[in-house]
């Protein structure tokens, strides 16, 4: 990938094998289009350079970095506790998952265990956040394909989740809900009732979304067979999450390498067969239902007890390194932390699912049409805050 700071625009076009810009596009039938960073359908500030033959996509080049804030570098100058809120700002629509991943990674480094009640709260909030993230994805993805209405429906229902977050920790989006070693806050009064109410409220809403889209003829035509990617390609590129599962690989870190207390819950990993946009849509819809199932079990079994393990006020983890990954709504979210024994991490490296999944864009859209590029960007479910960090 070219240096985004370079002023020379041709430096981006490295692998598109461009000669001098074509005078006409009839002559060569090639047209270079710059999609983004200011474009309504690139989900933020993604810039995609498309090489087109008429409407057919011959190649793409993603230019990222417009939202780069140097999160990983900031970590090196903050203590372990101080860095915690920063991770919320990476994938800001799934802030809880990010916080969970970071807290657990540091806990692993410190060798402490969060108490069971904290783990239950973590699971409930994380799964709620998974639903919220999928809702946002569904709304924007449908909007990209031209269906306006689902966006408003999903936002209406996402509001219920955000209200629970707000009541729990005071923030709606960048929650900073967890602390290293457990949770900062005890659940508020009526938390369980609120969650249970949501559990009853939400399934009919999923049916409503599905009613609008699943059998809609145009939706099916726009998504079936679009942006196909094989399981082998997914593995080769390191694609994870719903995109991988839609290609038929039953890989979910909650099952494969259980973290928190996911091993105690009974749920299924929905998979698809074809790896196209429609399958990814179906997988995510199923995941919302499975998340509800997990939350129901968790909320019924939530034990009493402390919510914070014993962690030192000034954290000085032993020298060493740790890699810990969780299943974020978008895929495998991993934290690699190197400790030099001081209060500040020597190095933090995040493996963001969006960034890795974005690589698949080129494979998925080659030979497709411009409209499919939009559908595929939507279906990859990327958040630029996480891609650029």
């Amino acid at each position: 990938m070219a240096d985004p700071i370079t002023k020379d625009p041709t430096s981006y076009l490295s692998h598109l094998e461009l000669g001098e810009p074509d005078k006409t596009f009839l002559d060569s039938n090639e047209l270079i289009i710059n999609m983004g960073p200011q474009h309504p359908a690139t989900h933020g500030v993604l810039r995609v350079i498309l090489k087109l033959d008429g409407e057919k996509v011959l190649g793409t080049e993603c230019v990222i970095g417009y939202l780069h804030r140097g999160v990983e570098k900031i970590a090196e100058n903050r203590t372990y506790t101080m860095f915690n809120p920063y991770v919320d700002r990476m994938d800001y629509v799934a802030a809880v998952s990010n916080g969970l991943g970071y807290c657990e990674a540091v806990e692993k480094l410190l060798n402490v265990q969060a108490p069971p009640r904290a783990n239950y709260i973590r699971v409930i909030l994380t799964e709620l956040n998974r639903i919220a993230s999928h809702q946002l994805w569904l709304g924007t993805h449908a909007l990209d394909i031209g269906a306006m209405t689902p966006l408003f429906y999903t936002f209406r229902d996402r509001e219920e989740i955000l209200k629970i977050f707000e009541k729990y920790c005071g923030a709606r989006l960048t929650t900073h809900a967890f602390r290293i070693g457990g949770c900062q806050y005890e659940t508020y009064e009526g938390f369980e009732a609120d969650v249970k109410k949501f559990l009853d409220f939400f399934p009919p809403k999923i049916d409503e979304y599905e009613e609008l889209l699943t059998t809609n003829r145009i939706w099916v035509e726009r998504t079936v067979g679009v942006g196909k990617i094989s399981a082998a390609d997914c593995k080769a590129l390191g694609v994870t999450g719903p995109v991988l599962r839609a290609s038929g690989v039953k890989w979910d870190i909650r099952k494969a390498l259980p973290y928190a207390n996911y091993s105690e819950f009974d749920f299924e990993i929905p998979t698809g067969q074809n790896g196209d946009t429609y399958d990814r849509y179906m997988v995510r819809m199923q995941e919302m239902r499975q998340a509800l199932r997990i939350i129901r079990q968790a909320v019924e079994r939530i034990p009493e007890g402390p919510i914070m393990a014993k962690v030192p006020k000034v954290m000085k983890p032993p020298v060493g390194e740790v890699y810990h990954s969780i299943e974020a709504p978008k895929g495998e979210l991993g934290y690699f932390i190197v400790s030099d024994g001081s209060t500040q991490p020597y190095r933090v490296r995040v493996r963001p699912p969006s960034f890795v999944n974005l690589q698949a864009l080129d494979i998925m859209v080659r030979g497709a049409l411009v409209a499919d590029v939009i559908a595929v960007i939507g279906t990859l479910d990327i958040v630029l805050g996480e891609v650029d960090r």
Binding site: K23, T24, F25, L26, D27, N29
Partner: protein, 169 residues
């Protein structure tokens, strides 16, 4: 229908036709030429209406202005003409061409001057009310064969255009 202010509209429409004709052959930019041609064609459709030929006027609007000219604009958009705008617009034999055209015009003038008296001044009553029907009857009756030939011509043109314009078939 009683015609309203016939001479005025005749001069207006024919003036528009001729002015746009001049613009077509003098503009540098082919899109401007095409635009002028479209206006000319529409004005000419007005002339057809004045000649009690509403069906031809309708066909003129649909086929010429709405069909053929879109094709022209399409091609102009596809072939980038910026380079040709900077080159000489008229070829080397322009003087000869102009003279030949002038001679042709002179011929027309002479013919009309001589033959002025040959036109019957009182036109027969126009059949405006059922014009479309009459045209249809002629088209599918007496000119049936010509009509079929025309459809064949269009087919050939379609195939020819596709074969020539497409790189890979």
């Amino acid at each position: 229908m009683t015609p309203v202010a016939t001479p005025f509209f005749f001069y207006l429409l024919s003036g528009l036709t001729l002015v746009s004709g001049v613009l077509v052959i003098t503009r540098k930019n082919a899109v401007h030429s095409a635009l002028a041609l479209i206006f000319g064609l529409l004005a000419q459709a007005g002339l057809y209406l004045m000649l009690y030929a509403p069906f031809v006027a309708g066909v003129q609007i649909i086929l010429y202005a709405g069909g053929i000219m879109v094709l022209f604009l399409f091609v102009i958009m596809l072939v980038n003409l910026e380079r040709s705008q900077k080159e000489a617009q008229f070829n080397k034999q322009w003087l000869v061409g102009l003279l030949a055209a002038g001679a042709l015009g002179g011929l027309f003038v002479a013919v009309y001057m001589r033959g002025q008296g040959l036109f019957p001044e009182h036109a027969p009553l126009p059949l405006e009310g059922s014009n479309t029907q009459q045209v249809g009857v002629l088209l599918y009756g007496q000119y049936m064969f010509a009509f079929e030939i025309a459809s064949l011509l269009l087919l050939v043109a379609i195939i020819g255009a596709v074969v020539m314009a497409k790189k890979r078939i």
